[in-house]
């Protein structure tokens, strides 16, 4: 069973299990009728569930101390897994696509990041010069998208070691993505955005200054930072 198919069957059978756990007696046939193309997998899981899972104690919220036997088993598993552990190789080809995988709409992603949709689209389309993007936003993106920071940096074409030196080259390298061929700084996109709330704008101004990314020494409304 491929991954996508398995997850679909998991979602179907999760409902069945939930019904059983809440004391209902769901009809197997209801599920098989509704998802005939998954009938074999559903039947297999349901048979397994009633054979081995139906009367399992539920997860405990305590933290029992494990006996030597089971601690040893966990250590064995860890030793088996260790050799295959490498550094994460995750790649992001689209911020919005990755967010969609996490069931986040564009609006939800923008809200979680504290930016407006127009700025989010500029980030997606690489029309913001990568090295002008605050590190805080990179961290936040990594957290919300549940991807390594390195993957987010790679999406923007930011090299961790050569970030500063390559500003111009990166902007040129991403030219094919740019709308109207015009790249701008993150600060400019903040200033220009009509969708960003004043509160959000101010918060970003503060952050830009904190990260020493604020240019022109301009006053940005309100006069003071923080």
């Amino acid at each position: 069973m491929d991954r996508e198919r398995e997850e679909f069957v998991q979602r179907i059978t999760a409902r069945y299990v939930e019904e059983v756990r809440t004391g209902l007696r769901p009809n197997v046939s209801d599920y098989l009728v509704r998802y005939p193309e998954y009938a074999d997998e559903i039947a297999d899981f349901i048979a397994y569930f009633h054979a081995f899972e139906g009367d399992l104690p539920y997860e405990t919220q305590s933290m029992p101390v494990l006996s030597g036997q089971f601690q040893g088993a966990i250590d064995t598993a860890w030793e088996r897994v260790l050799p295959s552990l490498g550094r994460p190789t995750s790649t992001i080809t689209s911020l919005l696509g990755t967010a969609a995988k996490r069931h986040l709409t564009v609006s939800q992603l923008a809200e979680r990041l504290g930016v407006s949709k127009d700025i989010l689209l500029k980030l997606e389309q690489h029309t913001i010069i990568a090295t002008t993007i605050p590190g805080e936003l990179i961290t936040l993106l990594a957290k919300v998208l549940q991807e390594p920071s390195s993957a987010v940096q790679a999406f923007f074409g930011i090299s961790q070691t050569q970030q500063t030196q390559q500003t111009l080259q990166l902007a040129e390298a991403q030219a094919t993505y740019q709308v109207n061929g015009q790249a701008q700084s993150f600060q400019e996109s903040i200033e220009e955005s009509e969708q960003l709330s004043e509160e959000q704008r101010h918060a970003w101004y503060v952050l830009l200054e904190q990260e020493e990314l604020w240019k022109n020494g301009r006053d940005y409304g309100g006069g003071t930072v923080g």
């Binding site: 036997q69 969609a100 390594p148």
Partner: protein, 283 residues
């Protein structure tokens, strides 16, 4: 331009519809609740963070959140943090995992010491599979329904383990199968369902049918598990749910004849499995 077209598509689309999107407001709320709790966690790696992770009883975090934390640890390259998170997860799920492992091994009729060793092996296999699953950031359902994913993983480990031990669909092992029956005396009686209906089955293998009807209802799933996938749904519907052949055909969208053929094949397999017990019972 291709890139821009793709972006436009994404912008105009909500996440693709899936099985849970049939107006399931509860699920959306649950997702949001989990996301909010995750966002509210103290800064990664701080004392407050670990206090929250290792909290017990009422303050214990949902396991789904711990999965996200494992993935964050991986993203940060924090091997020690990852191992610490695994420890918390395995301790929280230990009772169920231990019970399950003992239950599975009990079906194998082994000596106590052999059982103990195999329980450890099975438990280690499960932990390994769970670790690998949690480290795979594409397996998103773990972040929504940890317990159900764990059930799926246990099923996978169970099957792999039994295959490795030579006990999956292995005729040579049939004499070790334990098929407890409470209804042995009613072997010659047709099965009456809780609804009061009698099951109508017209098949040639009457002995196998009687044997199967005599098996305790709660023991049926274990027998069904041993069948080829194609045959499981038919047996489940007829013997577990008490459907008629005609009903079963309608549910599965196949002909009555196909139902009969599958039932015959299933009963043939089960008859061979039940044969040793009949010998014990009747000599």
């Amino acid at each position: 331009m291709l890139c821009l077209v793709k972006v436009a598509d994404i912008v105009n689309e909500e996440p693709a519809p899936s099985v849970e999107d049939d107006g399931d407001v509860e699920l959306v709320k649950r997702r949001k609740g989990l996301a909010d709790r995750y966002d509210a966690l103290p800064g990664y790696g701080t004392v407050a963070y670990w206090k929250a992770i290792e909290a017990c009883v009422e303050e214990a975090l949902p396991l789904e959140l711990l999965v996200r934390c494992v993935r964050e640890a991986i993203g940060r390259g924090d091997d020690i943090g990852r191992k610490r998170l695994f420890e918390v997860i395995f301790r929280r799920t230990h009772s169920a995992n231990e019970y399950w492992a003992n239950n599975v091994i009990k079906t194998m009729n082994l000596h106590a010491e052999e059982q103990r060793v195999l329980v450890s092996d099975l438990y280690a296999d499960l932990c390994e599979c769970v670790m690998r699953a949690l480290m795979d950031g594409d397996r998103l359902f773990w972040e929504e329904s940890f317990q159900h994913c764990l059930s799926f993983e246990r099923r996978h480990v169970f099957r792999t383990f039994m295959t490795r031990e030579g006990r999956w669909n292995n005729e040579a092992q049939k004499k070790t199968a334990r098929i407890p029956r409470a209804l042995v005396d009613s072997l010659d009686q047709p099965r009456q369902l809780s609804t009061g209906d009698l099951i109508e089955i017209h098949i040639e293998d009457e002995m196998a049918q009687k044997d199967l009807l005599a098996v305790e209802h709660s023991d049926l799933p274990r027998l069904i598990l041993d069948l080829p996938d194609k045959l499981k749904a038919v047996v489940l519907l007829i013997f577990w749910e008490g459907r008629t052949e005609k009903d079963t055909a309608m549910v599965l969208g196949i002909t009555d004849r196909t139902v009969r053929n599958r039932l015959r094949d299933a009963l043939e397999i089960l008859r061979r499995k039940l044969e040793p017990e009949r010998e014990v019972l009747y000599g």
